[in-house]
C-alpha cells in the first residue's frame, strides 16, 4: 500500500488513527505493530513472515550480545550475516548469477524472485540497532514488541527515513501528543502528498515516454534528464515528508531525510542534503569502522570508494547503480583533493550548475537500463547520435510540462519556505488563517488527481 492512494488516505489511515487514539497508552505499541503488519501485508503479503523472522533474529542476537559479553562479536557477526543474507538472497542473487554466467559462460537459471518491499530499509535499521547494542550506544531492547514496532513502524517501513533505534528509543516507551505536533504532521503529510502526486507522478509521464517517443531530439533528451532529476527528488522527498508527517500524527519524531539538495554548491554538500539518513548510516556503520579518514591516503581513498560502491549497490542490483555510486565516489575524492576549494571561490551559480549537471547525469545513469542506454542518453544530451535538435513532439512535451518544471524547480529551493517564514513574522494571524485553507485546497486537488488517476508506486520501493 502506498501513502498516495485513496485506500490509504480514506480507509487505512482513518481506521488506524481511530483505533490508535482510543486505546490506552499501554497497548498503543501493539496497535502500531499490528497496524504495520497489516500495512505491509497489503503491499507485500508473501514476505510478512520474512520480516518477522528477521526481527526475531535481531531481537535474540541483541539479548545474546548483552548476556554473553565475551562472545558478543560472534553474535554481532551472526546477526549481521543473517540480516544481510536475506537482503543479498532476495536482492542480489540474480545479479550474481547473471555476472557468473557472463564471465564463465555459464547457464545457471535466474531465480526471478520478487524483491520484498522495504527490505533494504528495514535490514539497515536492524543492523544499526545491533551494532549500537554491541558498541553500547543503546541498551538492548528486551521487549520484542517494542523492537518489532521500531523496525516495522509503517510510516517509515517501505522507504525510510532509515530511523536509528536511538532516535526513537524513548518514544517507544512514552510519546507526547499535542495539536501542535499533530497539525505539524498533517502539514508535512499534505506537502509530501503534493510533491508525489502533483509533481513526481506528473513528471513520470514524461519519463515513461522515453521508450515511446517517435523521434528523440536533443531537446527531448534534456527534457527527459531534467524530468527524471526532478521526479526522483519529489518522489523520494515526498515519501519522506509523508513518513515524517505520519510519524508526528502517531507521536514519533523521525529525522529529516532531505534538506533542499538541489541548492548545493558541491557534491560533498549535496550528499549532506540528499537521503541524509542513508548517508549517515554508511558513514557510521561502514566508513568509520573502515578507518574513515584517519588512515593513510590510499586506505582513505579505498574507504570512500567502498562506501560509494556499496551505496550504489544498495540502490539496486545492476551495474548502472554501481556506476552511479562510483561516479559520486570519484567526484567526492576529486572535491576533497582540491576541487572543493575552487568551488568555494567561484560564483555560487557556477558551482550550483556544476552540481546540478553532475546530479542530472547521475540520475540518467541511475534511471536508464543498460550501458547502451546510458551512452545513448548522455550522448543525446550533446547531440551525439541524434538527427535533430528539436521537433514538434519535443516542443509539445516542453510546453505541456512547462508549468510543472517551473513549480518543481522553485519548490526544490527554500524560496517558498523563506517567503512564508518572513510573512509569518509580519502578518502571523493572516498566515495562520491561510494555512488551513491552503492545506485543505491542496488535499482536495491531490484527491482529485487520485480519483482520476492510476496507481503509481514510489520509485524507492525498488530499493
Amino acid at each position: 500500500m502506498v501513502f498516495s492512494s485513496l485506500t490509504f488516505l480514506f480507509y487505512f489511515l482513518p481506521i488506524a488513527l481511530i483505533i490508535y487514539y482510543i486505546v490506552p497508552n499501554k497497548v498503543k505499541n501493539l496497535v502500531l505493530f499490528i497496524t504495520s503488519l497489516i500495512f505491509y501485508f497489503i503491499g507485500e503479503p508473501k514476505y510478512v513472515i520474512l520480516m518477522i523472522v528477521s526481527i526475531l533474529s535481531t531481537y535474540i542476537h541483541g539479548i545474546l550480545i548483552e548476556k554473553y559479553e565475551k562472545h558478543k562479536k560472534k553474535f554481532l557477526i551472526s546477526s549481521i550475516v543473517i540480516s544481510l543474507s536475506f537482503l543479498v538472497f532476495f536482492k542480489y542473487t540474480d545479479f550474481i548469477i547473471e555476472n557468473v554466467n557472463a564471465i564463465f559462460n555459464g547457464s545457471f537459471d535466474l531465480l526471478n524472485l520478487a524483491l520484498p518491499i522495504g527490505i533494504s530499509f528495514y535490514t539497515f535499521k536492524m543492523i544499526s540497532y545491533i551494532v549500537d547494542v554491541y558498541t553500547k550506544k543503546v541498551k538492548v531492547q528486551k521487549n520484542f514488541l517494542k523492537l518489532a514496532t521500531y523496525v516495522s513502524l509503517f510510516p517509515q517501513l517501505m522507504a525510510g527515513p532509515i530511523v536509528r533505534y536511538s532516535t526513537i528509543e524513548k518514544e517507544l516507551d512514552e510519546r507526547k501528543y499535542s495539536f501542535a505536533v499533530f497539525s505539524n504532521g498533517v502539514r508535512r503529510f499534505i506537502i509530501g502528498l503534493c510533491k508525489k502526486i502533483l509533481i513526481a507522478d506528473v513528471l513520470s509521464d514524461v519519463v515513461n515516454s522515453f521508450s515511446t517517443v517517435t523521434e528523440k531530439t536533443v531537446l527531448f533528451y534534456w527534457i527527459y534528464a531534467i524530468s527524471i532529476t526532478l521526479q526522483i527528488y519529489f518522489d523520494f522527498s515526498g515519501y519522506s515528508d509523508m513518513a515524517i508527517g505520519l510519524g508526528k500524527m502517531f507521536g514519533f519524531n523521525f529525522p529529516e531525510n532531505f534538506n533542499y539538495p538541489y541548492i548545493s554548491k558541491s557534491v560533498t554538500e549535496f550528499w549532506r542534503r540528499w537521503h541524509i539518513t542513508l548517508g549517515t548510516w554508511f558513514r557510521d556503520y561502514v566508513y568509520i569502522p573502515l578507518g574513515g579518514n584517519r588512515v593513510g591516503k590510499l586506505k582513505w581513498l579505498r574507504n570512500i570508494l567502498v562506501v560509494w560502491i556499496l551505496t550504489g549497490l544498495w540502490h539496486g542490483a545492476a551495474w548502472n547503480f554501481i556506476l552511479w555510486g562510483l561516479l559520486y565516489g570519484v567526484l567526492l575524492i576529486i572535491e576533497k583533493l582540491g576541487l572543493l576549494k575552487i568551488l568555494e571561490k567561484i560564483p555560487a551559480f557556477l558551482s550550483r550548475i556544476y552540481v546540478m549537471f553532475v546530479v542530472m547525469i547521475g540520475f540518467v545513469i541511475f534511471s536508464v537500463s543498460g550501458m547502451s542506454q546510458i551512452k545513448e542518453c548522455i550522448g543525446g544530451l550533446f547531440g551525439i547520435g541524434v538527427d535533430k535538435i528539436i521537433n514538434k513532439e519535443s516542443i509539445y512535451y516542453l510546453l505541456n510540462y512547462a508549468s510543472i518544471f517551473i513549480i518543481a524547480i522553485i519548490a526544490s529551493t527554500p524560496i517558498i519556505k523563506n517567503i512564508i517564514l518572513k510573512l509569518k513574522k509580519k502578518v502571523p494571524k493572516a498566515i495562520n488563517i491561510l494555512e488551513p485553507i491552503t492545506l485543505l485546497l491542496l488535499l482536495v486537488v491531490c484527491v482529485s488527481y487520485l480519483v482520476d488517476g492510476s496507481f503509481n508506486p514510489f520509485l524507492y520501493f525498488r530499493f
Partner: protein, 369 residues
C-alpha cells in the same frame, strides 16, 4: 487566528475529512456505471485465495477510485487545475479548442496500418474477386483539421494514406473523402461526424461507386436530442456545451427495417428506443455497435446489395444509401472474425463492397479480427 487555534483547526479538519469521507464511502451505495465516462464501475473485489496476491490491492484501489464520493466533481477539479491553472495542454490526452474536444492520436502506428491492409486483402482474397465492385475509403478523425501550426500532435495522415494505398489490392478502388470534410462536420463532444453534415460524403461515394442515380428522394432533418454528451465529454471532465443529434430521413428510410444478426431482432434504422436507454446516444444510428446488421429496404426498385466493412462512422453514413439498394449489410470485424463472415453472408457479384474505416481504427487496429 492564534498559532494554537490554527493547530487545532488543521488537526480537526484533517481528521474530520478523512473519517467523514471514510464513513461516506462506506454508507453510500456503490454505483454500477459512470454515465459521464460510459463504463461500468469497479465493484469491491471478492476476497478469496487471491488475498496473497498483489492484484487484490490494485483491485481495491481501483474500486476506491471508481466508487469515490463525488467522483465526477473531483475529476472536474483535476481537469480545471491541469488545464486552467497549470495551463497544461491536455488532460488524459484530451484538449479543447474553441469548445471542441479533441483527443491526441499520436504517433502513427505503421504496423497497425499495415494490419488493416492485410485484413482487407484477406477479406478480398477469401470472399471477393474481380467481378465485384470493391472500394475503400478513409474517414479522417477530427484532428486532421487542426491547424498545422497548432502545437498539438497529430497523425502523419499522408504517410497513413500512402501505406494504405501502397499495400491494398489494386482491384480495390480508393474514394478520397478527406477534402469533402471540415472540422465542424464532427460533434464537439464526440469522435464521430454529424449525419446532417455528411450528405456530401454520401454523394461522393455514390458517384464513385455508381449508384447516385438511384438516390432521388431528398432527406428531411429531424432532431433526436439537443443534449448529446459524447465520448470525449465524459473522459475530459470539463463543462462543454452539449451537441445536438440530428438525423436525416425520407420515406425509404422510414419504411426500411434493420435486422441484427447477433440478436436476431428487427428495429428501425434510427433506433430511438435503444438510444433512449443507452449511455451513448450515437446508438441511435443502427442501434450501435454490433458484428453484422442488415438494412432491408422494403421499397427497393433494385435487387442490388451493398456490403460495408466498417467501424462506427459507417452507422450514420449507411442509412443515406438506403434508397439505392435492396439490402445493405454492415460488417464490423472488431466483433466478428473475418473467417466466420461466410456463415452469415453469401457473397455474389450483384453486391457492391465498400471498406470504410476511420483513421482512429486504422491506427489502432489490434481489435480487428
Amino acid at each position: 487566528m492564534s498559532e494554537r487555534l490554527k493547530d487545532i483547526v488543521v488537526s480537526i479538519l484533517f481528521i474530520v475529512i478523512i473519517i467523514g469521507v471514510f464513513i461516506a464511502n462506506l454508507v453510500l451505495k456503490d454505483n454500477d456505471i459512470s454515465i459521464s465516462e460510459r463504463r461500468k464501475l469497479a465493484k469491491f473485489p471478492t476476497i478469496n485465495s487471491s488475498i496473497f496476491s498483489k492484484s487484490l490491492t490494485d483491485e481495491v484501489e481501483e474500486y476506491a477510485m471508481d466508487q469515490f464520493l463525488l467522483r465526477d466533481e473531483f475529476r472536474s477539479i483535476k481537469t480545471f487545475v491541469k488545464l486552467d491553472i497549470l495551463r497544461q495542454k491536455d488532460n488524459n490526452e484530451l484538449f479543447v479548442i474553441d469548445g471542441n474536444i479533441h483527443k491526441i492520436e499520436y504517433p502513427l502506428d505503421e504496423k497497425s496500418v499495415l494490419n488493416v491492409t492485410q485484413k482487407i486483402d484477406n477479406i478480398y482474397n477469401k470472399y471477393l474477386n474481380e467481378d465485384f465492385n470493391v472500394f475503400y475509403s478513409i474517414v479522417p478523425d477530427k484532428n486532421y483539421f487542426l491547424d498545422d501550426n497548432s502545437i498539438y500532435l497529430k497523425l502523419d495522415y499522408k504517410k497513413l494514406n500512402d501505406i494504405m494505398h501502397e499495400n491494398i489490392n489494386s482491384n480495390i478502388k480508393y474514394i478520397d473523402i478527406y477534402n469533402e470534410l471540415a472540422a465542424n462536420d464532427y460533434y464537439n463532444t464526440d469522435t464521430h461526424w454529424k449525419q446532417q453534415n455528411i450528405v456530401k460524403i454520401a454523394n461522393k461515394i455514390s458517384k464513385e461507386i455508381g449508384f447516385s442515380d438511384r438516390i432521388t428522394e431528398e432527406f428531411e432533418t429531424k432532431e433526436y436530442t439537443d443534449e448529446f454528451y459524447g465520448t470525449y465529454y465524459g473522459q475530459l471532465g470539463k463543462k462543454i456545451n452539449p451537441d445536438n443529434i440530428e438525423y436525416l430521413t425520407n420515406s425509404y428510410i422510414e419504411n426500411a427495417i434493420t435486422y441484427n444478426y447477433e440478436t436476431n431482432k428487427e428495429a428501425r434504422i434510427y433506433d430511438i428506443q435503444k438510444a433512449d436507454l443507452s449511455m451513448d446516444k450515437y446508438d441511435l444510428f443502427l442501434s450501435g455497435a454490433t458484428p453484422i446488421i442488415e438494412i432491408r429496404n422494403n421499397d427497393a426498385k433494385t435487387d442490388k446489395e451493398l456490403i460495408i466493412f466498417r467501424d462506427s462512422f459507417g452507422s450514420s453514413l449507411a442509412p443515406l444509401f438506403t434508397q439505392a439498394y435492396s439490402k445493405i449489410i454492415l460488417v464490423d470485424i472488431r466483433y466478428i472474425s473475418t473467417d466466420l463472415i461466410s456463415n452469415y453472408i453469401s457473397f455474389n457479384s450483384n453486391q457492391d463492397v465498400l471498406f470504410l474505416y476511420s483513421t482512429l481504427v486504422i491506427n489502432e487496429s489490434g481489435a480487428l479480427k
